[in-house]
């Protein structure tokens, strides 16, 4: 099948605050193909998490989706009833949160939390009570083993606080994967973890993706993580996608000044001795944005034409950037 698994068109998510309307996600297009891993990179306030909370239908008041299309596996998610949307969440699309301590319910055992998801979504479970309980337990054990938690049988009876941060992140992944979703959205899965544990968790996600043939969206601020684990990458800035394309192209040959700036501002072990160059200034206030390039105030190569709305332009096949200096018709 060539149709993408998830396709988001012109998504706008706004937050109405006392100070004014915040355009947290402003005209974002995303495509996630079957079986691929898409990296979504951006700093805080870039809209990377809000974009995917919108896909999941989890934007809470005062936020709301103001426009756009979200198509998943041929279905229009925005037209679904809340009930139908609940069925999609967990079964077809699952999401893991950054903070594993607050995202897991401290009052329920790990087994109960995995069981809950299966109970809610899995229609293949037997109807008879005893057999059903046994099936749920077997599946839960299987999930914990899949995410590499040893002695799963006894671990099921433990509470989240009895696990380390890395283990909790694995449990969250186990819960997310319990119903074999077609798409896993991992929101900063390793930000709270140490590097040695981070490496374990990321390899786990990559291995399971291959094993189950699902698609993964990896939301992160770490370009190194993207470079190693993602097929394609999408860079977001101030509520917009500023660059997207195959990871190798975007990182090896960045087209947008923001992406270039990001890459230049990270100290790298392999480039030790080379100075880093920070991007000066700050992310603009998302209230009352002027209709111009969002990166204008921090850009070192800005021109007069940048003070107008800029659309995505093709830098190379499959590689696009939102900058007037990109492409054939650049001035």
């Amino acid at each position: 099948m060539n149709a993408p698994l998830l396709s988001v068109k012109d998504l706008r998510t706004v937050f109405d605050t006392r100070a004014g309307r915040v355009y947290a996600v402003d005209g974002v297009n995303v495509e996630v193909r079957r079986g691929e891993c898409l990296g979504v990179v951006g700093e805080s306030g870039s809209g990377k998490s809000v974009t995917f909370s919108s896909v999941m239908g989890l934007v809470r008041s005062p936020g709301r989706i103001d426009g756009g299309e979200i198509t998943f596996d041929g279905r229009d998610l925005r037209s679904l009833s809340p009930q139908a949307m609940r069925a999609v969440r967990g079964r077809d699309i699952a999401m893991t949160m950054q903070d594993s301590l607050t995202a897991l319910n401290p009052a329920l055992t790990v087994g109960e939390q995995i069981g809950e998801v299966l109970e809610a979504h899995d229609e293949t479970l037997p109807r008879a009570r005893g057999a059903r309980q046994r099936a749920i337990r077997d599946r839960s054990v299987e999930m914990l083993l899949l995410v590499g938690i040893p002695s799963a049988e006894s671990r099921l009876r433990q509470y989240p606080h009895e696990f380390s941060g890395g283990m909790r992140q694995r449990i969250m992944i186990a819960i997310a994967l319990a119903c074999r979703p077609k798409l896993l959205i991992a929101d900063e899965p390793t930000t709270a973890l140490d590097v040695t544990i981070q490496a374990q968790v990321l390899e786990l996600i990559t291995d399971i993706r291959a094993k189950l043939g699902m698609s993964v969206v990896l939301i992160t601020h770490d370009l190194g993580v993207v470079a190693e684990h993602c097929d394609r990458v999408m860079v977001m800035y101030a509520g917009q996608v500023v660059e997207e394309g195959p990871t190798r192209d975007v990182i090896g040959n960045p087209a947008h000044p923001y992406t270039k700036g990001l890459l230049g501002s990270i100290p790298r072990l392999s480039l030790r001795g080379q100075p880093i160059r920070p991007i000066e200034g700050q992310v603009p206030d998302l209230i009352n944005l002027p209709p111009q390039c969002r990166f204008y105030s921090r850009c070192t190569v800005r021109k007069e034409v940048c003070k107008s709305l800029i659309s995505m332009r093709e830098a190379a096949p499959g590689h696009q950037a939102r900058c007037v200096r990109v492409g054939k018709d650049s001035q």
Binding site: E280, Q282, D285, S297
Partner: protein, 296 residues
Amino acid sequence: MTLAADMPARADSIFRQNLRNFGHNRLAVGSAAVVVLFVLMAIFAPLVAPHDPNETDLFRRLQPPGWADGGEWGYLLGCDALGRDIFSRIIYGTRISIFIGAAVILVATTIGILAGLASGYLRGWVDIVISRLVDILLGFPYLIFAIGLMAMMGPGLVNIILALAYKEWVIPCRVVRGETLVTRELEYVEAARALGASRGHIMMREILPNILSPVIVVATIRMAHVIILEASLSFLGLGVQPPTASWGSMVADGRAFILEAWWVSTFPGLAILLLVLAINVASQGLRDAFDPRFHE
């Protein structure tokens, strides 16, 4: 060097933001207005009250309210068994309720803040002594404790304040201790220590301003309780002594005539209800505005 994106030039403290939040809650603002009205009434009692509250007139004994048969509009809420104007006595009684309420809360909160800060920040034996004392005091039923103290010390305005404050300080103390335990671990407190700040500076200047909001909220909620307690003591005859008008003793005065002259007890009772309700609603509003945990 980077320069910040320009922000509104006006300095905006958290306290001012909280007050603005409070201003958005109409019910709370209305209740606060009622409380202010009572306070003004207490201050300007001689100007507001139509009659001397202690002037007896046996011809007006148990005279009904102005709108009832046999009532006079000049004596709006009727008269008590000694023919004193109930409306005027309620106005003067406001002085007692609010003065005692405010004085007890002021004394108790001051002691509570000092004890709570010392207990929560210094820890060690200071904490052990204060915490045990708090536990012991909490073990006594409040009213019985106050009755016992009043019986020992004898009636009188200062003694009521002392009798209530003896136990009341425990409540702000526990709030302050708990908040201090959380705040002392924050990095800005550590930063102050790293800069060489004294313990006094850290407690009074770094910690106290950050825990004042819950203390203010608790103080207002407790003020309503103290007003009820004072009325209870006065009702039992252990409070302000006659002929000084106090709402509690006025309710007690009317007990004997509750069937033939309901107004003698009812109106001071309503006054207690109205003031306590207004304080409670206003303090709820304060809590919602000051405590971010209640922000939606």
